[in-house]
């Protein structure tokens, strides 16, 4: 006979303001099988949990329903309390009367009735809960870091230094990410390359880190502790073991006029190239779309000049399979290009550039060797207009969020410009100056006060070209919304930071969720900022949302810490909410017919064929068997099985049937 305890939480006033908690408790007390029912202000607090623990003992409860917030929030809390009371932790269910009731309805009888119905449903469910034992699975103590920007570098080094193996996969020919493209960094103005390059070299030299550049994730299977990952190592057309990085090939390549990605199209590179001088690894790749040999079948000059004979035109993509226990997603971000802005000419004006292009112009290793010269004619611009929030915080552009880094880097750009062009004048159109951070506001003040950047609070409505000048038309909202027109020599748009190319596809390969802007979603915005909803997969850096360098690095170290915790045990415990095929005594053995129509629906290949044999070893039956190590508990096989021979713990046929029954037949 079931003895169920019902615990109605007020959640301060979050529930009790709209739901009559004492009344719900009173009604629930009368449900068949309910032995105890009460309400309390904060069920998740220590006294609240003690209340649950004591009630279980005192009333000899066989199961509990905690009627409070979403199970996605506090299910683990109350399962622990349930266990503390001496019950199997899985004899606990949560009735969600906060997110699904009190927060979405007005106070009234209908809302009370709904809360009562939700509680009744869960009471009927918990009566049918089974006692379950957690599943133990081994952990492969190797981490995969996807993305070799500053976040990936930090995560990889921290994990490696904790003594674990790391596999790093980078899409480009070199690690370094966007940080390697920056000139100086705010708020200290130290050179980006100078602080990053040593870290890049460390990655290459750390014996615990295996680096795959020019490689992408092909597929990911498995689950926390036991991922199987296929990596596509794209053909570099160069034998990495032989190449000594002498650079002869890139110097002699006759096909030199290809847009340089690293310089964002502001310079050229040969068809065989190293993206930038400090690249790690310092091994060139051949761009097959541009190489004369791949296009016309003739040339091979690089092969002739290569002393170590490392050029391999017939090299093919290689698929590498690795087993890892945890994955760090550090794939970074991208920015909107200037062609995103019709009002600024759809990208047709050469001297309207984006922030990253300005970084390259200001960088000593950039296309102008650090001199600020405009792309159209190489002149030194005497008037530059910076437009902050280009795209960001603009619902009409589909980007409601703040890109976070632009206020600071725009201030930095104005400072760098003034340092390089002393008689130049920078104008900055802005909405708000967001400079929250250590020494950040001081930095923007420096731009205004020491380096005479003219900040104009207002948006730019249009930019057009006239007589070789860019006419920037905007409003000054601090001057009675007067129209301002500035004849600029160059315009820098601080374009919105957006999700990186391929983010959505990667998220789908890894089964992690992402938001409407394709940024990866954290498991909890406050309490689990570096975890994803998928166990064993973590995220750091700007793949989550635009972030600056210190934030990305901090998150990356957080991820490394999480992964080190995971790797601290050789086994990990998994929730036993998995599917199982019915087993009975001979001669039935099972109601399973062995049709295996469940097999193709399993996303995890967890359904195996089990042979039932008699004493003589003769095959009697073939039955489906679900590997508990592989099953993730989606339950698709349950719904597909015609003879209802498969059931899934936590969502059994009996439970679901009882829930529907309780909702309607009362």
């Amino acid at each position: 006979m079931a003895r169920i305890g019902v615990f109605i939480c007020h959640c301060g006033e979050n529930i009790s303001a709209t739901v009559d908690c004492p009344k719900v408790s009173e009604v629930a007390a009368k449900f068949p099988g309910v032995a105890f029912s009460t309400d309390y202000k904060y069920m998740c607090s220590d006294p609240g949990q003690s209340l649950v623990v004591n009630a279980i003992k005192e009333h000899k409860l066989t199961g509990i329903v905690v009627s409070a917030c979403s199970p996605r929030m506090h299910e683990p809390t109350f399962r622990r309390a349930c266990a503390e009371g001496g019950l199997n932790p899985y004899q606990c269910e949560m009735a969600n009367i906060r997110e699904h009731c009190s927060w979405v309805h007005e106070k009234g009888d209908k809302t009370d009735q709904k809360a009562i119905d939700i509680v009744r449903m869960m009471v009927e469910k918990v009566k049918r809960n089974n006692a379950l034992l957690p599943i133990k699975v081994p952990v492969t103590k190797t981490a995969l870091v996807i993305g070799g920007g500053v976040a990936g570098i930090q995560a990889a080094l921290d994990i490696a230094n904790a003594g674990h193996k790391v596999i790093m996969v980078e899409r480009d020919p070199s690690i370094g990410g966007h940080m390697s493209q920056l000139s100086e960094t705010f708020p200290t103005l130290d050179c980006s390359q100078c602080i990053l390059t040593p870290r890049m070299v460390e990655v290459a030299q750390n014996p615990n880190i295996k680096l795959y550049t020019y490689a992408e994730i092909e597929s990911v299977e498995g689950f926390v502790g036991n991922f199987n990952v296929k990596i596509r190592k794209k053909a570099k057309s160069v034998d990495e073991t032989l190449c000594n990085g002498c650079g002869m090939c890139t110097t002699k390549c006759p096909n030199k006029k290809n847009p340089n990605e690293f310089e964002l199209g502001m310079g050229n590179r040969p068809a065989i190239y190293v993206p930038f001088p400090q690249a790690v690894p310092n091994i060139p790749v051949i761009d097959k779309t541009q190489c004369t040999y791949y296009k016309n079948g003739k040339c091979k000059i690089c092969e002739k000049v290569c002393q170590p004979k490392a050029i391999r035109f017939d090299q093919e993509d290689e698929i590498i399979e690795v087993a890892v226990g945890a994955i760090a997603l550090c794939t970074g971000f991208d920015i909107k290009k200037t062609d995103f802005f019709p009002e600024y000419g759809y990208g047709k004006y050469k001297d309207i550039i984006d922030g990253l292009q300005f970084e390259r112009l200001a960088s000593a290793s950039g296309p102008t060797s650090g001199e600020i010269r405009r792309p159209s004619d190489g002149q030194v611009p005497k008037k530059i207009v910076f437009v902050a929030c280009a795209g960001s915080r603009d619902p009409a552009k589909g980007i409601e969020y703040c890109s976070k880094i632009c206020c600071m880097y725009t201030a930095k750009h104005a400072i760098l410009y003034k340092h390089k062009v002393h008689d130049g004048q920078a104008y900055i159109f802005y909405m708000d100056i967001r400079a929250a951070g250590k020494n950040y506001d001081e930095f923007t003040r420096r731009a205004i006060e020491e380096d005479q950047a003219q900040y104009i609070r207002g948006r730019v409505s249009r930019i057009y070209e006239r007589d070789g000048k860019l006419i920037v038309v905007g409003a000054d909202t601090l001057m009675n919304a007067q129209t301002v027109e500035i004849e600029a020599d160059m315009v820098v748009l601080a374009t919105a930071g957006v999700a990186n190319k391929g983010a959505e596809e990667l998220a789908q390969k890894l089964h992690v969720s992402y938001d409407q802007h394709k940024f990866f979603s954290e498991a909890h915005p406050k309490l689990k900022p570096v975890e994803t909803n998928t166990a064993g997969i973590y995220l750091a850096g700007a793949c989550q949302s635009p972030k600056d360098i210190p934030e990305s690095v901090a998150a990356a170290s957080g991820v490394a810490g999480k992964i080190a915790c995971l790797f601290a045990n050789s086994e990990l415990t998994r929730e036993p909410l998995i599917a199982m095929v019915d087993r009975q005594a001979p001669p039935m053995y099972s109601s399973c017919t062995g049709c295996f129509l469940c097999q193709p629906v399993c996303p995890y290949n967890a359904i195996e064929r089990e042979e039932v044999k008699d004493r003589n070893g003769n095959l009697v039956r073939e039955l489906a068997f679900i590997n508990p190590g592989l099953c993730q508990g989606c339950g698709t096989c349950v719904a597909v099985c015609k003879s209802k021979s498969i059931d899934i713990e936590g969502y059994t046929n009996l439970q679901m049937y009882a829930e529907v029954d309780a909702l309607l037949n009362s």
Partner: protein, 145 residues
């Protein structure tokens, strides 16, 4: 007589629509009280027999909702569900079971507003259609007829 209040049962997956409905709550977006949510791990788990069971037990409308294509937490549960729904809907249409009362939708964990919208429009649509008596009656009356 008070206005007819439809009973709506929602069968939703844990990862997208249940979380989406949680977000509706966290965002304090109000919607009709008529809906009761039954949580499943995945749309792939949702048995069509629970749908007829709900109708037989007196539900006036049903919402079946999960992750958008390609967003399934389990990769493909929603794809299997989608196909099953197609066939089930075809059968219901052929047998005169009112599929206007079954709303299939994709609501992601980020679509709190959409969830409120789906519930409200379903409640209104079903309110217009009136109580679903024909199927419910089968199970309550004429049992021996």
């Amino acid at each position: 007589m008070s206005e007819f209040e439809p009973k709506i049962v929602a069968f939703v997956c844990n990862w997208c629509t249940y979380a989406g409905a949680d977000l509706t709550g966290t965002s304090r977006i109000k919607y009709a009280t008529n809906v009761r949510i039954v949580r499943f791990p995945c749309t792939g788990r949702i048995d069509y027999m629970l749908l007829t069971k709900a109708f037989a037990s007196g539900a006036d409308g049903i919402i079946v909702s999960g992750c958008h294509p390609n967003d399934c937490h389990y990769t493909s549960g929603n794809f299997h569900a989608r196909r099953r729904w197609m066939v089930f809907k075809k059968l219901c249409d052929f047998m005169g079971i009112d599929t206007r009362r079954i709303v299939f939708s994709w609501v992601s964990a980020a679509e709190g507003v959409k969830w409120a919208d789906i519930v409200n429009t379903t409640v209104e649509e079903v309110r217009k259609l009136g109580p679903y008596e024909s199927y419910h009656k089968l199970s309550t009356q004429d049992i021996l007829a």
